[in-house]
């Protein structure tokens, strides 16, 4: 609820098909001063990312239309997103899926549920 001054210029694209998850991510990031843009799936996120710059992408895996791993791969294919940190936030902890995420170009993997402190410190590490 405080400390909102330090990250005001940083934009984070939060992608999740669950409205409640998007809300929890938004609360957490906005309370630390980040600007949050939300997308409901990979297609919406990719459309937004193609026309706008974001500093970090935080994405779920299982979503309709386009999953998170495909989104990461597609974004990594764009010159503007070659070095942008991309974190996966998912309930999946299986090593196979994690490996696929890593190969697609994900920067890190956070297993849900996250604590606000843990999410913020992870973001601070990769930004």
């Amino acid at each position: 609820m405080s400390g909102a001054a330090s990250h005001t210029s940083r934009v984070i694209l939060a992608v999740d098909d669950s409205a409640s998850m998007r809300q929890m991510v938004r609360f957490t990031l906005e309370s630390a001063g980040y600007k949050v843009v939300q997308a409901v799936d990979g297609v919406e996120a990719l459309d937004f990312a193609k026309g706008n710059a974001v500093d970090l992408v935080l994405t779920d895996i299982n979503m309709p239309r386009m999953d998170g791993i495909t989104l990461v791969r597609e974004l990594r294919g764009l010159s503007t997103y070659k070095f942008t940190p991309m974190l996966v936030l998912t309930t999946e902890s299986g090593s196979d899926t994690k490996q696929r995420g890593k190969q697609a170009g994900a920067t890190g993997w956070i297993v849900k549920p996250f604590s606000p402190e843990q999410l913020l410190s992870t973001i601070a590490r990769v930004l």
């Binding site: 609820m1 405080s2 909102a4 669950s18 409205a19 409640s20 998850m21 809300q23 929890m24 609360f27 957490t28 309370s31 299982n62 309930t91 999946e92 902890s93 299986g94 899926t97 994690k98 890593k102 994900a106 920067t107 890190g108 993997w109 956070i110 297993v111 849900k112 549920p113 996250f114 604590s115 606000p116 402190e117 843990q118 992870t122 590490r125 990769v126």
Partner: protein, 197 residues
Amino acid sequence: MDLAHLLPNPNDAPETGDTVMVRALDAWTPEQQISRMLELCEAQMESALSESDVAVDALIKSFTGLIEAGQALGSLSEKTPADAGTADLRQQLEALKKQTAAAVVAFQFYDKLTQRLGHVRYSLSALAMFVCDREKSGEREQWRRLFSTLRRLYRTEEERQLFTMMVGGATAEQARDHIQQSTLTLRNSPTGDVEIF
């Protein structure tokens, strides 16, 4: 349980009453009854989840309001010259922040619950179709394939562990013990792991 009385008698004259019921009796096979029960379970789950969604939406709206009020108070306290009163207020806001963080973690379990029940619903639907296919359901290899398909559906560690246990022949009591142990672990460490590649 003897359900033979439910079987239609081929010598009976066509009934003129409740045609839906007549159709249901005409279609009677044990597999169809199992299938119907599985579909009923799936529908009950969907109905309960839809109701819960409405309640959780309302809860999140209230939570949003509380957080926004807390943020407004935080901004106000930062603008107010420091004295004993503002120190106390800041202390209370810090406590509120901790409670909010705990609620953010707890809310995410609803998302996880929805996801897990979605997998159960899919399993029930798949089984409902499978049991009606006598050719398939009579073959051990087809059951193995069904389990293999359903296993891929389960994504969380808890789901996978339970699936492996039950398919491996664990009893309901063993499963309950496992669930109790998992719940205890969860109470001590409710958040997931983080890995930077």
